[in-house]
Symmetry: C2
Subunit: 493 residues, 2 copies
């Protein structure tokens, strides 16, 4: 049976992926500094082996044949998802992929240096080349997949999501936020007039912060027998579902940034740890995509981790580990801090979507050819002023040079962040309808019911459905901005 041939190849590809995932996580956590060159060489060779085995022409024949075989519904879904991956991997000529990889690697390397020097003039022509190749990729992929060029890029990160469905939701959210951000800031100011902020400063030994982080991870559902917490410069969730490696970084003068980061990565980890084991070596068994993954991390970080009920339970744990007593109002003042800023990764949950929507709008114009790289700083500045009342015109490094995504040819990725935030709120709303005492459960540190819902409706579904299908099946309705809007109004309004 061709299905069995795919199954066998899946085992082989899975072993290579396992090695690459662990080698990647190890590189950022335990590798000796001098080991980098040999590690990069080994990973590049193994990636090449994985790619060559993944695009072999006989896979197309096996998929054709398997589609005619007498298969169970699960098996049919497995073949369908593999087909989707295979088409995605083989729809571009190898010489084009090489050309684009070279250009974006060069651009990303130059970007690190040029951004540090705020050198837009040096950066623009290099980015221009990347944008031109990305336009070509979008057109080529779009032709094969029967999608518009920009949709064909989104499809790489978020299968099934389309501009047609994202744009109106983002528009609604934007209109709301442009009005809501000033209101939230006003609410915050009034709150602080009554009760001034208690400074988040002290001396918190890293080992104690680590113990606190581990205790919270375990409480919200992280299986410590199938994963671990380490330190790295950039926090991430990596490894493999049976051994999920999450990382954080510590500051000894405050504990909240590491803790919230750990909760965020724990959200990613829960998704990975709860994927269906029987399909682990098939594309079907992997997490759905970037936006659904982000919805899981944001669910734990924002819906749970910034929920007042959660802190009712968490504050005694903080006191137990760090020996410091905070009132709920004092900690929520930090946990719910809102601030207009230039930098997306530093933004809070109220302002963050405006950063994303700005990029989503500009990306479409760049890929569509209605905006050129030379006009980027003005386009960015104009939107920043409108959406957040801030100007970046004098500082391109905080404007269009801010993120690694564009230099590395990852157009179409940005929407995932805010789609994830909206889907997290929509899931929260759906759970709350099923479990009316959800906040009470949180305030007692009980996460079983909420995790059971997520296991049943999201985690166990892996890559069986497209993103829009999955969110609709899980919550009973298509993506709806209302839930995120109401969440923000309730928490910050």
């Amino acid at each position: 049976m061709s299905f069995d041939k795919l199954d066998k190849l899946g085992t082989k590809l899975h072993a290579l992926s396992h090695a690459l995932s662990i080698l990647g996580a190890d590189e950022a956590t335990h590798m000796a500094p001098g080991g980098g060159e040999a590690r990069a060489e080994a990973m590049s060779v193994l990636s090449g082996m994985h790619h060559r085995e993944s695009v072999a022409p006989e896979i197309g024949d096996w998929l054709d044949a398997a589609e005619q075989e007498d298969l169970s519904d699960d098996q049919k879904a497995a073949v369908r998802e593999w087909r989707r991956r295979y088409v995605g991997l083989t729809c571009l000529p190898p010489e084009f992929v090489e050309r684009q990889t070279r250009a974006s690697m060069r651009c990303e390397q130059l970007w690190r240096d040029l951004r540090a020097r705020n050198d837009w003039a040096g950066f623009a022509p290099v980015l221009q080349e990347v944008v031109e190749l990305e336009r070509e990729r979008a057109a080529r992929r779009g032709e094969v997949l029967g999608l518009s060029p920009y949709d064909a890029l989104i499809e790489m990160y978020d299968p099934g999501s389309r501009v047609e469905q994202i744009a109106p939701v983002f528009d609604e959210l934007k209109t709301f936020l442009v009005d809501f951000v000033p209101r939230a800031l006003e609410v915050q100011e009034k709150r602080r007039e009554k009760a001034p902020t208690r400074p988040l400063s002290g001396n918190y030994p890293i080992e104690k912060q680590r113990e606190l982080g581990l205790a919270m991870m375990a409480a919200v559902g992280f299986d410590l027998t199938r994963g671990s917490l380490s330190v790295s410069h950039h926090p991430f969730c990596g490894g493999v579902p049976t051994d999920v490696r999450i990382t954080t970084r510590y500051r000894s003068d405050e504990f909240l940034s590491s803790l919230m980061g750990t909760l965020h990565e724990t959200g990613h980890a829960l998704y990975e740890q709860n994927l269906p084991k029987e399909w682990a070596h098939w594309p079907l068994g992997e997490a759905r995509g970037m936006s659904m993954h982000e919805s899981q991390s944001l669910f734990v970080e924002k819906q749970i981790g910034r929920n007042p009920a959660f802190w009712h339970w968490a504050l005694p744990l903080v006191e137990q580990h760090l020996g410091e007593s905070w009132s709920q109002d004092e900690i929520l003042d930090h946990v719910h801090h809102v601030e207009r800023g230039l930098i997306r990764v530093d933004a809070d949950e109220v302002t963050y979507p405006l950063h994303v929507i700005l990029r989503f709008e500009i990306e479409q114009e760049l890929i569509g050819g209605t905006l050129e790289v030379t006009d980027l700083p003005e386009a960015w500045d104009e939107r920043m002023k409108r959406y957040l009342g801030l100007s970046t015109i004098d500082s391109p490094k905080d404007g269009p040079m801010q993120d690694v995504h564009w230099p590395s040819s990852a157009f179409g990725y940005f929407p995932s962040y805010t789609l994830g935030a909206m889907m997290a709120a929509q899931q929260w709303n759906a759970i709350k309808r099923e479990i009316p005492d959800l906040d009470d459960q949180l305030s007692r540190g009980e996460f079983e019911a909420v995790n059971d819902w997520r296991r049943k409706h999201i985690w166990s579904q892996a890559s069986r459905w497209s993103t829009p299908e999955l969110i609709e099946r899980a919550t009973g309705e298509p993506l709806n901005a209302r839930h995120f809007r109401e969440h923000l109004e309730e928490r910050y309004g």
Copy 2:
């Protein structure tokens, strides 16, 4: 050129080896406990890929062709060593390899349980099957390689070493030790009558022991930018030459066992860290074999680490890290402790060779067919009584069930341990002839000159020569038991 084809394949095999080495070290140090099954599956698939690529028939053609190409001396040596590996990997029919692998895996698994229960009657028939297959392997390998069956097994671990050369040296050593062990014990007793042993006990925080271990590793030459020290249940040296992972385990009630273990693994690590980089992806660039590797670990642990001059330098370091002052006599009383015992891995450097020689002699009879498994307990007991004055007849778990080697089909491995000890002493003697103030250097914590010698004569030579050639080229004479004998007499006589 066929040489270039080999070079390209070497890069691919090297990437797979890199992954397997790091995954293996990671498994014992950082892996989550629940990750074992998926890790074993991934490593088994990757090992299979490595094996299949290593025995491909076209490699034989490439080697034939490369031998006719116009190559430098280095390149010729590289092809020669690859040929040796290739013959070793392909000289047995795959169905025989599978049969033997299955039998020894089964035996090793049963052994873990049966040894714990001291169940010789249950173990003997399972071992019998392994011995019969090992006889067949020895005969088959011997025929292809033109060696006697037992030599054909030794060749797997120690290229070029032969019974003809090992047996007389071991005989000489055995005769000496049977007489010397009682003398050494008497010397020890008299010493302790004058100055009673200061108990090695206290409360030593693991973090401080770790810092002490790292300080000693760095001092004796370990490059901490290209390696690290972790904790594992069984200490080992693993990883890759650019990122050597050594491990130890700690007891909080004494510090010496972890420290000496760390020095031992550091010896292995120095060999790996100083192999020639330009041949890293060729068999030529790997360490020579088991006995030479053991000579490097024992060099650091015994020749350096148990040298009185070393402790002149080391004791202030111990005091600095552990806050405890020891006199040289007090610490050497522990460092030079001699004791007759049943267990090889617990033996000191005086009694250890008798454990090995016993196994070497019995192995030859087992492979030669002059001894059967059923007669093993008596044969073992008879020699234990003669060599060490101890009986194991009532406790087969401390006799022929003691080691993992035989259940796992590793006949021919044991001699490496004592060959390593002898070669370490012989290297020490050669260095001392070149550097007369060697002890003074040690007592000042200066290890550059001794490492320069080893880098030039051993490490940089990698797999260019057979073991006997390498030791003769390095020290100016063939393996000679006299150096080890004199070493023991000087230290323990």
